[in-house]
Structures are given as C-alpha cells and as structure tokens.
Amino acid sequence: MAKVETQGLEKYFGEVKAVDGVDIASREGEFLVLLGPSGCGKTTLLRMIAGLEKPSAGDILIGGEAVTHLPPRARGVAMVFQSYALYPHMTIYKNIAFPLKAVSMPKDDIDRKVRWAASMFGIERLLRRKPRELSGGERQRVALARALVREPNVFLLDEPLSNLDAKLRTSAREELHRFQKDVEITTIYVTHDQIEAMGMGDRIAVMNQGKVHQLGSPKEVYSDPSDTFVAGFLGSPPMNLIKTEDRIIGFRPECFLPRELLGGSGDLESFTVEVSRVEDLGSDRLVYGRLEKRFGHHQVVANLPTSFTHYSIETGGTYDFAVPRKDVKFFDVESGLRAEPIPL
C-alpha cells in the first residue's frame, strides 16, 4: 500500500503537450480512476507513473519517495495492459511466475505464490495452458494474477475491461472492484467508460487535453461538476448546458421534468419546451426539444423515468418543464468554470 503523487507532471511528444501540469495525489488503498476521452493524456499519465514514459517536467512520488528517475522495475508497481500483454510463449504458470523469477525467489516459494494468486482469480485449472488457448475473460484474470503475485505497492490498470464483451464486462467490473477492496492495494485505473469509472472509483480524476479538470468522488464529479467540460462529459445524455448573456446554466436531464410532475416542491426554475422528439428506451423516456426564445431556442433533453409513463408527451407539443433550483449549476461564460448563481 502506498500513496501515489504527481507534482507538476508534464509530457511533450514533439510539439504536442500530452500531459499538462498534472498534480494529483491518491490516498492509501484508494481506487482512483483517470477518466477522459481518447487522447486526453490519461494513458500517458499512467505510463509515466509506471516508468514507461519519461516526464518532460515534474515529479512522481510513490509512498513518499521520488521515483521519477527510477526504471519501471524499481518502482514497486504492477500494471495490467489493455491487451493484457500475456507472454505468448509461456504457459500461464510461467506467466504468473515471471515477476517472481525476476527477483530470484526460491522455486518452492514461487510455486506457493503462483498457486495463491491463481486461486484468488479461480484460474488454477488454466496453469498449464498457453495464453492463446484462453478466452478474453480468462486472459484478463491471468493478467491480474500476474500483477498481484509479487504484491506490489500500486496497481496500474489501463482499460483492462475494454476487450471484454458487454455482459462479461459487468461481472468483471464487480469482481475487480471486490478484489481491490480485499487486497487494499492503491489502484490507478484508466478508462474512457464513465460507467466503469462511476461504478468502481473511490475518486475520479476527469481529464481533458492533458489537464485534470476535477478530482472527486463519483457523486461529486457527477452532481457538482467543476466546469462545463466535466458537466458535458459525464452522464448519458450529458448535462444540458445553456449559454446566456451572463452565465452558462447547466442541469441534468433527469432533474428536468414536466412541471406538474414536480408538484409544488420547493424552489423551481421553469422553462417552456417545444418537444421535437421522444425516445422510449424502456427504462427511461428521453424527451428532446427546444427552449423558449429568451434561451435562444436552445436544444435540451429531459430524462423521464418509467415511473412517469402515465404522463403523455407528444412530438410537436409545448410543455412546461422545470428544474429544482438546487439542481441548476452556473458556469462562467468565458472560462467555463463554476460561478456564483444568478436569478434566471
């Protein structure tokens, strides 16, 4: 267990700034997710922590010790690659034993630890096989067992679930999360999938264009976004962002409901919506439409849960919608950062 910290970390690839002054610090035993769109620098950041990329500037500390100039093998980290990177010419047993052989561990101890790691992931029966004979899910477990076997201080996981099919991904997500809580090893997990991030992370660092936009719990980054990027990146569909003269106002589609469904509950902001399309997704109903003129006929989307199926909405109709005042977020027009609320 160890804290991972980056201080002013930068990485240039030629003229391109892939990582732009990142300062983050994990907590001990934490599951920290780096989330962002492709090319946002999250994998580069992870690779710098692993020692596979040399930072252009800044420092990396693991367990309070500067490791910026140490080779990957001296950092006490284990990494699971997106491709799993299983050694194709070795059996699963030898794959898992490989990191232990590197430290010249006695043969008996290697055997004991390989079997322990394999039992953690229920892959004892695969030990004699070669990686090519394994399914995607089995390969992923082998990669995790290989990472676990030398009991590292930090786990680095680079989109380890992205090669699995949707059904398997759900169970693997749960398994991975439980495993991390059991071993309590600090984990940094890179993904572009917000469901993975929200479901597994203790905290999420939302990244874009090499910068960390917000670091916070899943609830914080979702409900209390620090800027318009985070607001627009998280959620499906994402937060409605409406540009006015003084502020950008944002509200989540699921907080944006027909006024009469919200009843007289508290302080509400009302909008008139001309509905252009209704999508019934089974579990939810998405209502697309335009706001009234004072909001520049801005496109918005509302997400009505199934419990409101009785409420009929027709394409082409005009309806009164509202958002509880506490759920409306205000952002600065220039910087996109959170700003003081103003009356609408």
Binding site: P71, R73, F81, A85, Y87
Partner: protein, 285 residues
C-alpha cells in the same frame, strides 16, 4: 440433383487445386530431379541424344561421386563452406539482432529510414564491391585465407538480416517488453527473455537465408582465395570439374546435390516457421 452438382463442382475444384500445385511442384523440383538423375548417369547415357534424358537408359553409376570424393578436395570444400557459413551466420545474428531491434524500438522517426538505407547497401552488387573489398582484405593481411570470407560475407548478410528482423520486431507488441520491464527486468533482460524467444521464426529465417547466401557466393571467394584447399563448394566445384570446355556434368551435379542437401533438410524441418517468417517480414517490413 443439387448434391450431385455440388459433388461434381467439388471434384473439379479439388482437381484444379491439386493440378495447379502439381505443376508448380514439378516446375520447382525439376532442377533437383535433373541434378539427381545426372549425378548417377553414365556419361555415355547422358551424351547420347537418342536417349530419353529423364530416365536411366543404362545402369546407374556412382563413378561421379567417387571421382568427386577421391580425385578432388570436395570434402575440404564442404568443411570450408560449413566453417565460413557457421561463422558468418553467427556474426550476422550477433550484429543484426540488436541493430534490427534498436532501429524498430529506439530509432524513433529515423529508425525506419535508416533501416531502408541499410537494406539499400545490400543491393550493391559484389561485382562492383570486390575491387575495393580486395584492398581491404589486403590491408588487413587476410589474402588467401578463409578469414577474408568471414570478414567480407557479413557485408551482404547483415543488411538483409537487419531488414528482415525489423519486420519481425515490429510485429511484436511493445506491451510485452513493457510488461516484462515492469515485472522486474531491464530493457536488455526483457529483450533476452521476451523478444528473442518470440522471434525464433525470424531468427531461423535469417540463419537459413544467410547460410544460403554464403553457400552460393562465388565472386568474393574466387577473388580473395587462391589455394584450392581453401575453396568453398561454389568455387571449387566449377573450377575443378570444368576442364576448358569439357564439363564433367555428372561430377558438377553430384557436387551441387551434396552441397544443397543439408540446407534442403533443415529447410524442410522448419518450413512452416520459415514461410511464416518470410510473409511476416514481407507484410510488416
């Protein structure tokens, strides 16, 4: 009816498939067949134009092989060829493997261009190079020595081997070496434990190719070596079995057959990997 139609079509396709293969196989093996028949043919049989050249019209004979082994230094030439071949292959591997790997993984933007540049040197014909090379050989005092060949042959095996190996190394996902580096090895350790075992077919391709290039080399050996006892097969056989305009065809063919057998046998053992290696090099190189 449908099944019958399918059956006819299937038979026709199989026939066309194997027919085509048979034509290619026959075409490719004809020189060997010719070599084999001529090796064991009596001269009187060979030179009689009324005879069918593809069969033994007179009893087969071992006289050509006997001549080769008793009247010439053929055994010594085989030993010389093997000696030079093994050393050249070893030198080629020692230099080309790290070079190919570095150009692919560490060469950055220039790696590919340098690789192509190196390969271009392979295209310069020995007929142009042997004159400057003979100066080099003379300067280092290796005239009339097999070591001159050991020195000069890598100049054409290494560029080719680097180019071939670059294709292989490029096909290995960098993740594997990076995983090994995180698992506790240096880059060199990862290279030895991860890259080399995975590249066996590429290395084997280089071994077979380099050895074949050495065995068939003619002009450098003819230039740098004068003593008959230091000839390789490719120079010794034509020099001693062609007297003026009299060709000892039986002996010539016997010499070629014996020299090509070991390569043919090794090649057949590894043919699958070899073809895998060649096509990978072709696609990725």
């Amino acid at each position: 009816m449908v099944e019958e139609k399918k059956g006819v079509k299937w038979i026709f396709l199989k026939f066309a498939h194997f027919g085509t293969l048979a034509i290619f196989a026959f075409f490719a093996s004809l020189p060997f067949l010719w070599m084999l028949i001529t090796t064991f043919k009596q001269d009187a049989d060979l030179y009689n134009r009324a005879n069918n050249p593809f069969i033994f019209n007179m009893a087969p004979t071992l006289s050509h092989i006997e001549y080769l082994f008793t009247e010439t230094q053929f055994v010594q030439w085989l030993i010389n060829t093997a000696f030079v071949g093994v050393l050249v292959v070893a030198i080629t591997l020692v230099l080309a493997i790290p070079a190919g790997y570095s150009l692919v993984r560490l060469g950055g933007r220039w790696g590919e261009a340098i690789g192509i540049g190196i390969f271009l040197t392979y295209l310069i014909a020995p007929t142009i190079l042997f004159i400057p090379m003979s100066r080099v050989v003379a300067t280092v005092g290796l005239q009339d020595s097999l070591w001159s060949l050991v020195l000069v042959f890598p100049s054409f095996t290494i560029p080719f081997a680097i180019w071939l190996l670059m294709g292989f190394f490029k096909a290995i996902p960098p993740d594997l070496e990076e995983a090994a580096m995180i698992d506790g090895y240096s880059r060199f350790g990862a290279f030895i434990r991860m890259v080399l075992p995975i590249s066996t077919s590429g290395i084997l391709t280089v071994v077979i190719f380099s050895f074949t290039l050495v065995v068939q080399e003619y002009i450098y050996t003819l230039t740098f070596v004068t003593a008959a006892s230091k000839y390789t097969v490719s120079v010794g056989v034509p020099t001693f079995l062609v007297h003026g305009d009299v060709y000892n065809w039986g002996g010539l063919m016997a010499g070629c057959l014996i020299a090509s057998l070991p390569i043919a046998i090794v090649y057949n053992f590894f043919v699958d990997r070899f073809i895998g290696g060649l096509t990978m090099g072709a696609v990725k190189g």
